[in-house]
């Protein structure tokens, strides 16, 4: 098998706080192949965003620190790299878009300036060429009147349009990997559909891979080829999308899928939602054993004693559960 584009091995990103060490990412393994879309799902605090930011080393250190592990980008470990080396990889090879486009754009510069800055910096073009490139990118992401809109400021765009601007900026250097951190969470559902379609279009056009971080199982089902499910800093299941939804093996994944009401099943008999009891455990000095054990209806003694390993249960389907 070809070498994966991105291969994260045993990554531990911890944060030092007054109360102790928070093990936000605590031994995560995941990989992304060229041109595929990997969904990383989980609830607030599961470590999905910290994992994504670790890849681009966008974690403030201190309080954060890489405790262990490797982040192999086309075979090369990113963790030991210095700032200037990282800057060559950011945007040009790996780009990122965030949940809240307004806070990721600078309000006092025009969007054209901001996109052109990226192009100028990474492609060594003149300002004029870069501005033309910016307008071209806006056209690509379907912003009407791109020639005029390059001179507008972020506040003059709606939420959906701002996310388009972010995508334009992220794709301006044609990265090989786009990390999308909850790109549609702040958007209305009709606008979410537009942005997801745009990402799909751009992926086909540029042949890039996407790491889609989200809590929305519906979005994952519709856009991803493979899925990694995270819980409390650990990967609990990894599978091709059909296998994950068709035959979820980890009790947490099963719970996640069953706890969502389904619009398309309106005609069937109304069922009570299957809620997962309890709340997510604290990541401050977590106890040994499976992190989900306290909420799991199948939990046994062995579950609280040692962390189960990830085992293969089908082609490309891994689960961290003793069952």
């Amino acid at each position: 098998m070809a070498e994966p584009l991105l291969d994260i091995r045993g990554l531990k990103t911890w944060f030092k706080t007054d109360d102790g060490m928070v093990r936000a990412v605590d031994g995560v393994d995941l990989h992304i192949d060229r041109g595929e879309t990997l969904g990383v799902v989980g609830e607030s605090g599961c470590g999905k965003t910290v994992t994504a930011r670790s890849v681009l080393k966008l974690i403030d250190m201190p309080p954060g620190r890489f405790e262990e592990g490797k982040i192999l980008w086309q075979g090369r470990d990113l963790i030991p790299l210095e700032q200037d080396e990282m800057n060559k990889i950011r945007a040009r090879e790996i780009a990122i878009i965030f949940q809240e486009p307004m806070t990721s754009l600078n309000p006092v510069y025009t969007v054209g300036d901001q996109i052109a800055e990226v192009i100028e910096l990474h492609q060594k073009l003149s300002r004029k060429q870069a501005m033309a490139g910016a307008a071209e990118m806006l056209r690509l992401v379907n912003i009407p009147n791109p020639q005029r809109r390059v001179n507008d400021y972020p506040h003059q765009f709606s939420g959906g349009m701002r996310q388009r601007v972010m995508i334009a900026m992220a794709l301006s250097c044609q990265p090989k990997l786009l990390i999308a951190d909850e790109p549609t969470t702040a958007l209305d559902v009709t606008i979410q559909a537009q942005i997801l379609e745009l990402m799909q279009e751009m992926k086909e056009r540029f042949g890039m891979a996407i790491m889609l971080i989200t809590h929305a199982m519906g979005v994952v089902a519709e856009t991803c080829q493979r899925v990694t499910v995270m819980y409390a800093g650990k990967v609990v299941e990894e599978a091709p999308v059909e296998a994950l939804f068709g035959n979820p093996r980890h009790p947490y994944t099963q719970g996640l899928i069953r706890s969502i009401p389904r619009v398309d099943r309106a005609a069937e008999k109304k069922q009570r939602l299957e809620a997962i009891a309890g709340t997510v455990p604290s990541l401050l000095d977590p106890p040994p054993g499976c992190r989900f054990a306290s909420r799991c209806k199948f939990a046994m003694d062995v579950c609280t004693q040692a962390m189960p390993p990830l085992k293969e249960v089908g082609p490309g389907h891994y689960v961290r559960c003793v069952l």
């Binding site: 609830e43 607030s44 709606s158 959906g160 349009m161 209305d188 559902v189 009709t190 606008i191 979410q192 559909a193 537009q194 997801l196 379609e197 809590h215 929305a216 199982m217 519906g218 979005v219 994952v220 089902a221 519709e222 999308v241 059909e242 939804f245 068709g246 719970g255 996640l256 899928i257 706890s259 969502i260 009401p261 389904r262 619009v263 398309d264 309106a266 005609a267 109304k270 009570r272 939602l273 299957e274 809620a275 997962i276 009891a277 709340t279 997510v280």
Partner: protein, 323 residues
């Protein structure tokens, strides 16, 4: 049909937009632009729409947390909009609200016991200190919390637990109608299901009537008896939940439903992609507000505003060309 518990007739709320150095009123936002609906005792009416459609403002106008500009709101036959302060206070025993953000809606300086007990004191519902405490304990247990939680402060609780505290506070005065304004949108999916199940249990136990305001169509479909869809300050469709999902009549409802991602990769549906964004509510489009984005708009849609008509039994839609 017997008299509805709540009847909203042609409700309007215009917010003034001020500008210039003298802060003159330069414009008006038509947040709620002629909304009418009834809620029967014991049913759940879902109110859905995208950000800025006026659904939350409608909910707040009913309680007069925001003063409506015009229109009538009848609760058990009495017009809420004409009530004086005393009558309104008495009315609020019967109508309560729970809010979206469980972090912002609980006073951080009060203990949970004081937060829940406050309403009991205001309405003189507790004869003694002991009676008050007993009632608070009873309410905490009703919503699935522990009696000793009453001495703690809101920050010690997770989002889901805080939402339970908000529900206990609303239930304290034994209301008939509960306005739920996005009660689960700030919660993780596994916790969302817990709160939805709790709301359903409470409805059965106390015979509550709900106005359930949300943007998440799958949640609304799950919990509602009937659903009203809003777009730019107007109700465009109102129907029993199942009818709306099976045969949406208004093109907006149809597009909205088709945009909801389904958490099942084997389900492939045709998506109706809406062009552009929701127009500015300061200058809503003439005629039918939706005509600028409507896939079936005809020239006269920009001239004549459609009214809600009963196209099928119990199924109302505001469209010249559908139904």
């Amino acid at each position: 049909m017997s008299e509805p518990l709540l009847s909203v007739k042609d409700l309007r709320k215009h917010f003034a937009v001020r500008g210039g150095i003298l802060s003159r009123v330069v414009d008006k936002v038509h947040a709620v632009d002629g909304v009418s609906f009834d809620i029967a005792a014991g049913e759940t009416l879902g109110l859905v729409g995208e950000s800025g459609c006026g659904k939350s403002t409608t909910g707040r106008c009913i309680l007069r947390l925001i003063e409506p500009s015009s229109g009538e709101v009848y609760f058990q036959g009495a017009d809420v909009t004409k009530m004086n302060h005393g009558a309104l206070q008495a009315l609020r025993r019967d109508m309560q609200i729970i809010f979206q953000d469980p972090y912002a809606s609980l006073n951080p300086r009060l203990t949970v016991g004081a937060i829940i007990g406050e309403a009991l004191t205001i309405h003189n519902l507790a004869a003694s200190r002991q009676a008050l405490e007993d009632r608070v304990v009873q309410l905490l247990e009703t919503v699935g919390l522990q009696p000793d939680h009453m001495r703690r402060f809101p920050h010690e609780f997770s989002g889901g637990q805080r939402q339970r505290i908000g529900i206990a506070r609303a239930l304290a005065v034994e209301p008939k109608l509960l306005i739920c304004d996005e009660p689960v949108s700030a919660l993780d999916v596994s916790i969302q299901a817990q709160v939805i199940n709790l709301l359903e249990d409470l409805q059965e136990q106390f015979g509550l009537t709900y106005l359930f305001i949300a943007h998440d169509l799958s949640v609304v479909e799950h919990i509602s008896t009937r659903i009203a869809v809003m777009y730019l300050g107007r109700v465009v469709e109102i129907a029993p939940a199942r009818d709306l999902y099976d045969t949406p009549l208004h093109p907006y409802s149809e597009a909205l439903l088709s945009a909801v991602p389904i958490p099942d990769p084997t389900v492939k549906r045709k998506r109706i992609m809406l062009e552009g964004d929701v127009p500015n509510p300061i200058r809503p489009p003439s005629g039918c507000h939706f005509h600028t984005r409507c896939p079936i708009a005809k020239p006269d849609c920009s001239q004549r505003a459609p009214v809600l008509e009963e196209k099928r039994p119990g199924h109302w839609a505001a469209c010249h060309y559908r139904g």
